[in-house]
Amino acid sequence: MKLSRRDFLKMGGGIGVGIALGGGFWKWGQPPPSSKLLPPGIEKWVPTVCGQCLGGCGILVRMIDGWATNIIGNPLHPINRGALCPKGIAALQGLYDPDRIRSPLKRIGKRGEGRWQPISWKEAIQEISNQLRELRENGEPHKLVVLGGRYRGLMRLLWERFLEVYGSPNYIDNQFRWDGIPMEGLFLTQGIHTLFTFDFENVKYLLSFSAPLLDSYWFPIHALKAFGQFRRGRTGQRGRLVQIEPRLSITGMKADEWIPIQPGTEGILALGIAHMIIKEGLYDKEFVLKNTFGFENWVDSKEQTHIGFHDFVLSEFPPQRVSSKTGIPIDTIIRLSREFATNQPSLAIGYRDRPFHQMAVWALNGLVGAIDRRGGILIPKSIPFQPFPSPSKDRAARKGLERKRIDEVRESPFGIDQPYLFAKNSISGIPYRPKILFLYYSNPFFSNPCPEFFQRAFDQIPFIVSFSPYMDDTTQYVDLILPDHTPLERWQDDPLFLNNGFPVLGIRQPVTPPIHQTRATGDVLIDLARSLGGEIEKAFPWKDFKEVLLYGLKGIYESRRGDVFGLEYDEAWIRMLQRGGWWDPSYKSFEEFWELLLEKGGWWDPIYEFGERERIYKTPSKKFEFYSQGIKGVLLSSKGEEDSSFLPHWEESVPKEEEKYPFILNIFKTMALDGRNANQPWLQGILGPHLFEKWATWVEINPITASKYDISDGDWVWVESPHGKIKVKARLYQGAMPHVVNIPFGNGHRTGGRWSKKIGENPYRLLGLELDSLTGQPIHGNTRVKIYKA
């Protein structure tokens, strides 16, 4: 079909538009990558789950002639109901990134040199299984370490199963994020290690302590979608948001009020607010009496009296002290405490600060009873996957598993993995040095503070394998690359929940056959197990990851809960039936269930049970603990008997070398880049809309401060800390505090494709290695810098 210009104009009122003409109209640069399943030019929308971040949005991918040509939200998926965040759409550019790793690569030059030899999958698997076999034969299976990053679902169980039958206790969860999920606060007060949700949609007053709600929330779509509802979704009630943060972020701009605060002092402010709420008697007395422990002074079984939260906060955190530390006026503290306590339902949220600072924010929620209620903190039920049968282990595996973990995590109070300790112990060789390292969804050379530290650790490990689909700073430094599919090419499960606590399971299915010679890491793992033979092979009776997925789904089918995704009004119907003891799903057999899952995009269980205390409070007292007995058992030896160690308190991090380094460094994240996705030009083009910044790393400086240092807008400056320096563009910004400079994280990859390599700088290179003694993670906001013109 050929169109003349005249036809073209006639056809459409000529708004520069060609209607879907399909095949022959375009001269494509290369033949479509897949076999044509559909007639030319006919579109098909394939449901799957986005894998750009951890939001878990259901998406529909528009397939024409074997090409993915657009992505929209899946209207049936309850998490996003047709909406998306900018990252979701840019998944197209992740899929078709011209610089993807196209086949397994073997290093031929020196480490990090970037000289690679493409090899076949057979050779690659052979090579790894040889190495793994040798390690086992030498009786050192515990020296295999897997460093895993942020992802969800059965894949994690598969990794752990592999390590278990192989004989290594070393799965290390490397989820470094200050703006990550504040899980320690939940553990200290409610004794729970699993995830929780905030019921934003029903909150009237939201007090945010530097939580990056609209900037880089851990599940972006949950906050973005809830925000519209929070603001104007309820007749006659508009939610009020107060953002307390050192920098005027997007969240701060969109909030009703922005209150600048000295970085790192959010915790003491929360305690100051608690002080005023208690002093004025504004707390929820019924909730505190019935559901909390450690509010009043109490006597233990040895008849020893302990101080409660009430007396502790009243004596330790008067507004004068809090005001001098935070820089916030006393009358603002008083006003915030009154607003927070009287506008019910209210909710306080924070970021992944030091554990007892998180606990301070959590304590505010305890004071107003925002636990397990509408507009509060909810604990979702888990998704009833069919558990894997417990595998039998051979002697080598049992011996390996008896060894200490390399990060000594069993001694860590929160039970969270300690990647820094892994690196440190790899360098020191105590208790032992890893011999083989697998990297899955993990790029510590870029996304962990002080990347050089990890590089030194890697120098001690003889064989490193990366499963990354893209070249990144860490993958550049390995010995063998086994590229994974991108999320749009693979099978996966995505268990999550809605803000209101409903469990949701999205099904990720391939929208296109693999474009390059890549393989899903799940399938590779099963292959590896097979090539190792023996008990290891027997523990993986599945052909590929899809079979693993089907195996897990059996449990959901048999649980007699929930249904496949449906329209919004189906929700009430399912709930009504289940409440009445009925269950009437849209499917009659497992096969039908599976087909519907693929067609609709997933399964959900639209019920949240309030008041199941054993699920909400897993603390020793079976209550919300203002005085954390859970942590007391673990910490007693190291911290002594001091009561204040187990109450929410404030730990000052002392600023160093203030004369030499006059500014506090505040690193923030943007919606577009949170460590991944820098290879996508669309996202590079929307980095900092408030300053029109694109494709760059910049430093935000208060204009008055800048003029003192003779720095103008757009100048190139060096930002230097005791640990390193980077050259970035100075931007004058009225939303910067005079003594704080702000740098976005996300760019500064030293290697990668044409769109990510050597764009901007990585501010994590300015950070040192001062770790929090409880979590083993670097401490936030205690790095100081100086700035001078380049």
Binding site: L9, M11, G12, G14, I15, G16, V17, G18, I19, L21, G22, F25, W26, W28, G29, Q30, P33, I64, D65, G66, W67, T69, N70, I71, I72, A83, L84, C85, P86, I89, A90, Y96, L214, L224, K225, F227, G228, R231, R232, I250, M253, K254, P260, M671, P681, W682, L683, G685, I686, P689, H690, L691, F692, K694, W695, A696, P703, Q734, M737, I759
Partner: protein, 227 residues
């Protein structure tokens, strides 16, 4: 006759820029790398425009998503010497890329700066070309382009309604930006229909338009933040 218009509720808007990226994907907008971006040669049919007022600590920043305003009295069409840009009968300010001679009078005349000039041939790596949207033509070097309210979607929706023998329904035609908005801050529809959502919202107390004093009569309305 329809009169298409848009309403953007700034109180619900989260400044996430999903609209921006959805538009880039839908309309085959050229990839602009770091060098051209630094020269200010980016193309965004919809973009967030910052308004920073006041001084620290009393700062107010507004980020306003700004597509083409599709003015009822568009200054850009009046200066076009070749009738490449004009106001069509449904109120959309159209741009015929192939008629454009690249004089850029319209880019200068537009007070909202929403008309973009192609400084060079738009290029995509071979690995990506197949992923372009087949419903929208690719522009060439030296022509001006702009937001069309995703007019190709209207054409498709009309065809579909006609084939099904029914009238065009409001939900049949939605631009890509409105469709993708996660917080439901964007509305689209017929301003001539007094009962349509956009029409009702455009008469709300919070409604305002950009640079109303110029008399351009934009058909993009904003609802201000706050109560």
């Amino acid at each position: 006759m329809h009169r298409w218009g848009m309403v953007i509720d700034l109180d619900k808007c989260t400044a996430c820029q999903t609209c921006v990226v959805a538009c880039l994907a839908e309309n085959n907008i050229a990839l602009i790398g770091p060098e051209e971006s630094a020269k200010g040669r980016t193309i965004h049919w919809i973009e967030l425009v910052p308004y920073i007022q006041g001084e620290y600590p009393h700062v107010k920043v507004r980020l306003i998503p700004r597509p083409c305003m599709h003015c009822d009295h568009p200054p850009c069409t009046k200066v076009c010497p070749v009738y490449a840009t004009y106001l069509n009968e449904e109120g959309i300010v159209a741009q015929i890329n192939y008629r454009c001679i690249g004089c850029r009078y319209c880019t200068t005349a537009c007070p909202y700066t929403v008309k973009y000039f192609n400084w060079y041939e738009p290029r995509w790596p071979d690995e990506m070309r197949g992923a372009l949207n087949r419903d929208v033509s690719i522009r060439t070097k030296g022509v001006v382009e702009k937001c069309t309210f995703c007019h190709h979607r209207l054409l498709k929706a009309r065809e579909k309604a006609k084939a099904e023998g029914r009238d065009l329904l409001p939900e049949d035609y939605v631009p890509a930006c409105v469709e993708a908005c996660p917080s439901g801050a964007m509305y689209f529809g017929d301003l001539n229909d007094p009962f349509s959502t956009v029409s009702q919202l455009s008469r709300e107390r919070r409604a305002f338009r950009l640079m109303e004093d110029l008399g351009t009569e934009p058909k993009v309305y904003y609802l201000s933040e706050g109560m």
